[in-house]
């Protein structure tokens, strides 16, 4: 997946002279995850910019550039480090179009590596996508495959509005597939049915697609055909695919790594209640991280949803 993202940035920088990459350590070292590796050499330091350590300024300066007609792709190193930029993102990036009634806009992408499972230091494992989904004016995308990573990032760069682009750290080098050369986009706001099934719908995004796939495999050995949906886009949310699947299966399990309370799973459950409550044959289950601080390396297994927890939730929906 890392390579697919690099490929997308490379194509965008080559195609459009207004695209630029800005963030901490993105130029000389190619970013902490090497996603921007080699771009400085190809496009120079006017377009691939190492900044001082100041997340609020990275986003606010990128917004100023976007208003002036550039298309910045800003990187914040970890989601826990996006909080210093929260004011800029929510008060300014998300609102400049509305505040100026379309006179000034923020065609920009904010890339945020997120999620745990790599034994990182404190603040490096956050999954707070829901807070960005809650802020009006932002689109929130989360790819989980190399194909989607490249296609969604290019779609985000083309998009006339600001996009929070969450990259699951755990998948950077864990998932491999051939992706097409050249420019292609994955439409924003369309979920992907990763696996078809008729008994229960497992809804997830980001790194949890891995465990959810594992749960579907396990359930298959028990004769349960689970449908797996990777949302890919939290905002806009593909309600049609989501609801269509649950109407078919009558059962839903939402899986996310983020804390449970007010996590995006709550929004998914609410949508299902609004749209297809009477088609449900069991309560919607949530398998999530806990409402605790994400634990450090030695305790990560205590927090992250596991294949077994997801399968157990699916089995509960099938009882009775």
């Amino acid at each position: 997946m890392a390579q697919a993202l690099t490929d997308a940035l490379d194509l965008a920088l080559a195609k459009d002279h207004t695209v630029l990459v800005i963030g901490e350590d993105v130029a000389r070292t190619g970013g902490v995850f090497r996603i921007t590796d080699g771009l400085l050499q190809r496009y120079g330091d006017d377009r691939v910019i190492d900044t001082p350590v100041a997340e609020s300024a990275i986003i606010g300066v990128a917004l100023g550039m976007a208003i002036a007609g550039m298309r910045p792709v800003a990187e914040l190193q970890f989601m826990g480090f996006s909080y210093p930029a929260f004011d800029q993102i929510v008060n300014h990036v998300a609102r400049i179009r509305n505040r100026s009634r379309h006179r000034f806009t923020a065609a920009m992408v904010i890339r945020i590596p997120f999620g745990g499972g790599i034994g990182a230091a404190e603040h490096h494992s956050e999954s707070m996508e829901a807070i960005y989904a809650h802020a009006p004016g932002l689109k929130v995308l989360i790819p989980s495959t190399p194909y989607d990573a490249k296609g969604l990032l290019l779609a985000a760069i083309e998009d006339p509005d600001p996009v929070i682009f969450c990259e699951p750290i755990r998948l950077y080098r864990a998932v491999k597939e051939e992706v097409p050369d050249g420019w292609y986009t994955v439409p924003i706001g369309e979920a992907r049915v990763e696996r078809s099934g008729t008994h229960v719908t497992l809804i997830t995004w980001g790194a949890m697609t891995k465990e959810t796939r594992g749960a579907a495999d396990l359930l298959a050995t028990e004769g349960v055909e689970a449908e797996v949906i990777d949302l890919r886009s939290l905002v806009p949310l593909d309600r049609r695919t989501l609801v269509g699947s649950v109407v078919k299966t009558g059962r839903a399990v939402v899986v996310h790594e983020a804390p449970r309370t007010a996590g995006f799973g709550a929004e998914v459950a609410a949508v299902l209640a609004e749209e297809c409550l009477y088609e449900l044959t069991a309560p919607v289950e949530r398998v999530t991280g806990w409402d605790t601080v994400f634990p450090l390396k030695r305790g990560e297994h205590l927090y992250l949803p596991s294949v077994e927890r997801i399968a157990a939730a699916a089995r509960r929906t099938l009882q009775g």
């Binding site: 630029l20 986003i59 100023g64 009634r101 806009t105 006339p160």
Partner: protein
Amino acid sequence: MFQLLTPSGDLTGPSPLDLTMTRRLYRALVFARTYDRKGMVLQKQGRLATYAPFEGQEAAQVGSAAALEPNDWMVATYRDAAAMWMQGYPLELLIAGRTGDERGGSPPDHCPVLPPSITVGGHMVHAVGLAWASRLLDERRVAITYFGDGATSEGDFHEAMNFAAVFSVPCVFFCQNNGWAISLPRSEQTRSETIAQKAIGFGMPGVQVDGNDLFAVYQTTSDALARARTGGGPTLIEAVTYRVGPHTTADDPGRYRDPAEADEWRRRDPLERVRIFLSEREAWTREWQDQIEEEAGNEIDRAVGLAEGLPLPTSSEMFEGMFESMPSHLVNQHDRAGVR
């Protein structure tokens, strides 16, 4: 502190403005004061939402904005209507914004002024981005950003100043040190002897100027703009002035400051010294004063009429304001919003 025109109207150095230009800017000062006082009245009549007056700060705003090129970017605040108007922001839109209408935030295409910032300090980084883009796009435009003494305590002030200096972008930071951040005096805002000296830590020039001196403000801003435009990087200007009125119409300065202080500053009025200067050169008469005050009043009344004549916003405008094209969830909500 740099000064060219004393409170009693005496020149202490060469004037950067000829008499014609001085008369033009004096007219703008009168216009600004008329607008500001009208704003207070309209708010008391319930015709504006909260209003933040700038009486006492007219020369800081008019003198600095007068030095700009027409396409220079401006990123200012809710207290900077005079500066924004000088840079081409339509009066009726400034007023519309204060009546509580988003359409007031949408200046015409040729006007390079962002809608006024309501949060304190966050807008300065936008100016750095605009200035930087100007260089990348080879446009030779400078960005100027306005803020108060209170904003210099915000993190974004420091981040903006640092980025501007590190990347040497063509940006001018214009601080109107008006003595008070709502109820907190300048002396408790920072231990720095001056705000201008904060520039030293960022490696950029910092200049303290008499903010009630039209000539000194114009000269200082012109110098900073010229330096920025020729690749010399950013400047911090501290214009020392005073907020004669309250923070906003929701505030009572009697709770935190001695009224004698405001009276003292009224004796350093930014308009009066220019009036004396012109009068001594036979370039001011009572008749002309009456005439420009009347013209200002008429123009402001016309703009108020236009702003108040805007039809009430529709729910379509509210939903359509969010994205270039409305995602389906907003379409759904829009459909429901029509049903009460």
